[in-house]
Symmetry: C2
Amino acid sequence: MRVSKEKAAENRARILDVAARLFRERGVSGVGVDALMDEAGLTYGSLYSHFGSKDRLTAEAVEHAFSSFGVKFGAIKNLNTYVAEYLSREHRDNPGSGCTVAAIGCEIPHQGKTVRQVFTAAAKRSMARLSALLPGRDARAREDDALAMLATLSGAMVLARAVDDPELSDRILAACRARLTRKGSGGSAG
Amino acid sequence: MRVSKEKAAENRARILDVAARLFRERGVSGVGVDALMDEAGLTYGSLYSHFGSKDRLTAEAVEHAFSSFGVKFGAIKNLNTYVAEYLSREHRDNPGSGCTVAAIGCEIPHQGKTVRQVFTAAAKRSMARLSALLPGRDARAREDDALAMLATLSGAMVLARAVDDPELSDRILAACRARLTRKGSGGSAG
DNA sequence: TGTACATCAGTGAACGCGCGTTCACTGATGTAC
DNA sequence: TGTACATCAGTGAACGCGCGTTCACTGATGTAC
């Protein structure tokens, strides 16, 4: 049955929320259309009214995942706080609301062109935002520092989540926290 | 038809080679049993003679992927060479023979228990091997350095492969290479 | 050394299942008069 | 304001397809005599 414009927009937003969460929790290929729409409280058919295909939904969901994580972390203006929050157990244990790179980064090369473009644009924005928190006069060097830092952060999170040993997992987070928090941050230039 | 012991062992080894390569190229969930066995020149049924299930094959393939990459990189005794080789275009463009963490790291949390255990043990070995190349008297601090370095290396590779923009991809590799190659390496302790 | 036969790696039809997608249909919404 | 009807978000049966796995079968291997 037809539904009011507001309700429809609400449903669309809810599908995106659910997709952004489930894709990060179980991987893009680990979430079927039916399971996803079930969680959103709709039937699978209506996904195609809103998005046309799983691939197009994935592109929008990746965008949504990046920006909702960006809102959470964009508010942080202190570099050490940023690192501590990113490399926290809380973040490790809640991939569904966490960093998109850490959650589905290695799935991205297997995705369609649109998804990869969305991912690339979002990665550039992350780099720019993070570089603004870094010290140094040379803007390009700060961007390079930001890239290296994003690599360490996301790489640490991937390892901490992959590993079966809680002690080792904690140790990975702590070791990277300590090494990124020192003076110039992440090997630093500037 | 039955096949000689030598031939059977050869076939088993070839299945592992193919699986270790394809899983890294397309992801574990991106490779079906039939495609895999086709590439190995056998029919899908015989996979179950050798491994029993895809999950058990995956565990052995992850082990095999780690150790064949370890052979290639274990020979490197110079830290700067290690970093340069790891963060090379050659490595980025050939995931099938490359680092397992970078290729399927974020898929590991969704795998079965055995796969995760194999991955964890292999990650510890990588840490130990890399820590032997690092400076500093404190062994535990060198291990922590190694963990942070593995995070940066694999994270950089994931980003460089995910991104759709060749310039940005090269830049990620170069930025991380420069920051890991300086003096103390990777933010360093010791 | 020659023969009989048990072993078992490899084959491929068939299984149930879940995937992404299509499409005829439903019925409340929202608009034209 | 009241009525007629076009719109379209949402439904769910059905599609072809590929998945991982099973299992009866094949036939060369390798062993017992």
